[in-house]
C-alpha cells in the first residue's frame, strides 16, 4: 500500500455490473472498471446507475452516492451496499451488464502503520468495506492486522462469514461477542497499546472509537461517512468539525481523518 492518494481520471466514466449478490442484509456489487486506476484502501467512488437514476421515492435519486471500495483487482471494483434509501435501492437492483457511472478513486487513503505499531481494524456494519480492503493490503505487505467487526445481528453478520481471522460482535449476541465491537477494541488496546487503530462505521460507533483513541493516546484513523453532492471538494456539503476549529471536507481532506484532529463525529 502507498501513502498517497491515487488520482482520479477527470470526469465520470461508464462501468458495467459484473455481478450483484445478496449476502444477508447487504449486497455485494462487482463493477468492471477497466478504464480506471485501482484505488488505495480508504478511497471511495461516487456511483450512480446510468439508467433510471431518478423517478424513485420522492422523485429521487438525483445526486451520485459515495461508497468506499471494498476491493480492487484485475479491472474490477467491489462495493458493499445496504438498501436504505432511493439511491442505494436503485443500486441494489442493478443486474449483470447494466451500466453505472463512476467517479474516482476519491479522497485520502489509510496511511500505513508507523513505528512498528500493530494495526487494529475496527468496523461497524456498513463500515466494513474499507477495512476489509485494508486488511488484505496489510497482509500482502507482510503485516498481521487484527480485524474486528460488529453487526446488529446474525443476518447482518453473514457478510463476515468469509473472513476467517475476524473477531465478531453482535448487538443481540447471536454471533460472536454479545455487545459492542468497541469493547473488543478496548480489550485489544488493554492487551497491547502499541497499536494504530483503523475504523469505519456508523457515527455513534466511530465517535466511541475516536474517544477511545484520544483517551489512550493511540493514533486512530477514522474513515468517515457523510452525505455529499460531488465527492471532489466542489460542494462543501460534507464537513466535519475540527478539534482546532473550523471544518474539514470529508471528500477531499478525508474520508480518512486522524481521530485527534476531529472535534466529534457528526451524527448522521
Amino acid at each position: 500500500m502507498s501513502a498517497g492518494r491515487t488520482l482520479a481520471p477527470f470526469g465520470r466514466r461508464r462501468a458495467l455490473v459484473v455481478s450483484e449478490r445478496r449476502v444477508g442484509a447487504y449486497a455485494i456489487l462487482e463493477l468492471s472498471d477497466r478504464d480506471g486506476p485501482a484505488p488505495e484502501p480508504g478511497q471511495f467512488f461516487m456511483l450512480a446507475a446510468a439508467t433510471c437514476w431518478g423517478a424513485g421515492e420522492d422523485e429521487r435519486p438525483f445526486l451520485p452516492r459515495a461508497f468506499s471500495a471494498m476491493g480492487a483487482a484485475g479491472g474490477s471494483l467491489w462495493f458493499m451496499l445496504e438498501d436504505v434509501g432511493p439511491g442505494t435501492h436503485r443500486l441494489t437492483t442493478l443486474r449483470k451488464g447494466e451500466p453505472v457511472w463512476v467517479l474516482g478513486p476519491l479522497g485520502t487513503p489509510f496511511a500505513p502503520p508507523e513505528d512498528g505499531r500493530r494495526p487494529l481494524l475496527c468496523g461497524g456494519g456498513i463500515g466494513l468495506p474499507p477495512l476489509v480492503f485494508l486488511s488484505g493490503a496489510l497482509r500482502e505487505a507482510g503485516l498481521e492486522p487484527v480485524l474486528q467487526l460488529g453487526f446488529r445481528d446474525a443476518h447482518h453478520a453473514q457478510v463476515a462469514a468469509g473472513f476467517a481471522h475476524a473477531q465478531l460482535a453482535t448487538d443481540d449476541g447471536s454471533v460472536g461477542h454479545h455487545g459492542l465491537v468497541t469493547e473488543l477494541l478496548a480489550a485489544e488496546l488493554d492487551a497491547d497499546p502499541h497499536a494504530v487503530v483503523y475504523a469505519c462505521g456508523p457515527p455513534g460507533m466511530l465517535e466511541a472509537v475516536r474517544r477511545l483513541c484520544v483517551a489512550r493516546d493511540v493514533p486512530g484513523r477514522l474513515a468517515l461517512e457523510s452525505g455529499m453532492a460531488c465527492g471532489y471538494g466542489a460542494c462543501f456539503g460534507c464537513v466535519v468539525p475540527l478539534a482546532a476549529g473550523g471544518y474539514a471536507r470529508v471528500c477531499v481532506d478525508g474520508p480518512v481523518l486522524d481521530a485527534d484532529a476531529i472535534a466529534a463525529v457528526p451524527a448522521a
Binding site: L7, F10, G11, E59, P61, A229, A234, Y247, P266
Partner: protein, 297 residues
C-alpha cells in the same frame, strides 16, 4: 469543436462558465491532478464568494436532495480576502482560463474594499458581485430591491476598471427591474439565477428543519424553468450581456438559455454529478454553431 465568444472585453474559448461556489479548482487539482488542467471544462473560472473576513460556513447538515435537485446551506465558507489574495490567487492564476473573482459584502464600504483590493491584482480578469447578502439595515437582500442595490453599485463601480458582473438574486418580486438598476449604475454584465430560497423538514418527525442553518438554496434541474423565464425577462430589458444559469445539464439546455438572450451560460449543480460536463457542453454549443454555419451560437 468550441467556438470563441467575446464577453466584456475578454475572449473566451466557449460560452460555458461555472456558477460561483460550485467548483473548487484548487481542491479539484488535488483530486484529478494535471488532467484537470488539460481538460479544464470552463472558459473562465468564477471563484467562490470571497468576503473581507474569513468564514467557517454554516453548521452541518448542509445538503438535502430534492426531486430533481438539491438544497444547500453552505454559508459561504472562505478564508477571507487577505488569504485569498495571498494563497489562492497564485494557484488560480495557473489555470488555463481567465479568473473572475466573486465578492460579497454587507455594506457599500465592505464591497468597495473588496473590489479595490481585487482591482489591484492582474491575475483577476473580472469581478462578480454577490448581492444575495442581507442588508444590515433592512434585512432584505441587497439585490432584492433596486433602491438598495443602486446606492451600493454607485459606491463600488468607480473602484475598479475591470468588468463588473452583478449576480442577481431570484428571490425578488421583479428581477428585470433590479437588472435595469444594475445596468444604470454601470454594471458591465448581469448573471442569474442564484439559488431559490428553500427549506426541507427533518424526516425524523422532530418538527424542525433538516438544514443546520434552517433555510437553504434550491438548485439543479428543478429550477431550470424558473431560471429560463428570469433570464429571458432580464435579457429583454437590458443591453449588457447576460450570464444565464439554473439547472443546465446538457447542450440542449444551454442552447435554450442562449436563445433566450444569454451571452454566456454557467453550469453548477450538474458539475457535482460529472465534473467534466461543462467542457462537453462548450464543445456541443460550438458544434451547433458550426453546423448552422454561423460564427456565434
Amino acid at each position: 469543436m468550441s467556438v470563441p465568444v467575446a464577453f466584456c472585453g475578454l475572449e473566451l474559448a466557449h460560452p460555458v462558465l461555472n456558477g460561483s461556489g460550485t467548483f473548487d479548482a484548487i481542491a479539484a487539482r488535488r483530486v484529478f491532478g494535471d488532467a484537470l488542467i488539460a481538460d479544464f471544462p470552463f472558459s473562465a473560472f468564477v471563484s467562490k464568494t470571497i468576503t473581507l473576513a474569513p468564514r467557517d460556513g454554516n453548521p452541518p447538515p448542509r445538503l438535502w436532495e430534492t426531486a430533481s435537485g438539491m438544497l444547500n446551506s453552505i454559508g459561504l465558507p472562505n478564508k477571507g480576502l487577505h488569504a485569498y489574495l495571498a494563497e489562492d490567487l497564485p494557484q488560480l492564476a495557473a489555470l488555463p482560463v481567465p479568473l473572475i473573482t466573486n465578492v460579497m459584502g454587507a455594506t457599500a464600504d465592505e464591497l468597495s474594499a473588496l473590489v479595490e483590493a481585487c482591482d489591484a491584482r492582474d491575475e483577476i480578469s473580472a469581478l462578480e458581485l454577490n448581492v444575495s447578502c442581507p442588508n444590515v439595515a433592512t434585512g432584505l437582500d441587497l439585490g432584492a430591491d433596486p433602491a438598495s442595490l443602486a446606492p451600493v453599485l454607485r459606491a463600488v463601480r468607480p473602484r475598479t476598471s475591470k468588468p463588473l458582473i452583478v449576480k442577481l438574486t431570484p428571490n425578488t418580486a421583479d428581477v428585470a427591474r433590479v437588472a435595469e438598476a444594475a445596468e444604470a449604475e454601470g454594471a458591465d454584465a448581469v448573471s442569474l439565477i442564484n439559488t431559490l430560497r428553500g427549506m426541507a423538514w427533518h424526516p425524523d418527525g422532530s418538527g424542525r428543519p433538516w438544514l443546520g442553518a434552517g433555510r437553504g438554496g434550491l438548485s439543479g434541474p428543478a429550477i431550470r424553468a424558473v431560471a429560463l423565464a428570469q433570464v429571458a425577462a432580464v435579457a429583454d430589458r437590458v443591453a449588457v450581456p447576460v450570464v444565464g444559469m439554473g439547472g443546465i445539464q446538457t447542450t440542449a439546455h444551454a442552447r435554450q438559455f442562449l436563445e433566450a438572450g444569454a451571452t454566456l451560460v454557467a453550469v453548477g449543480t450538474e458539475s457535482f454529478r460529472d465534473p467534466a460536463v461543462a467542457g462537453r457542453i462548450g464543445v456541443g454549443i460550438g458544434d451547433l454553431a458550426t453546423q448552422s454555419g454561423s460564427a456565434a451560437p
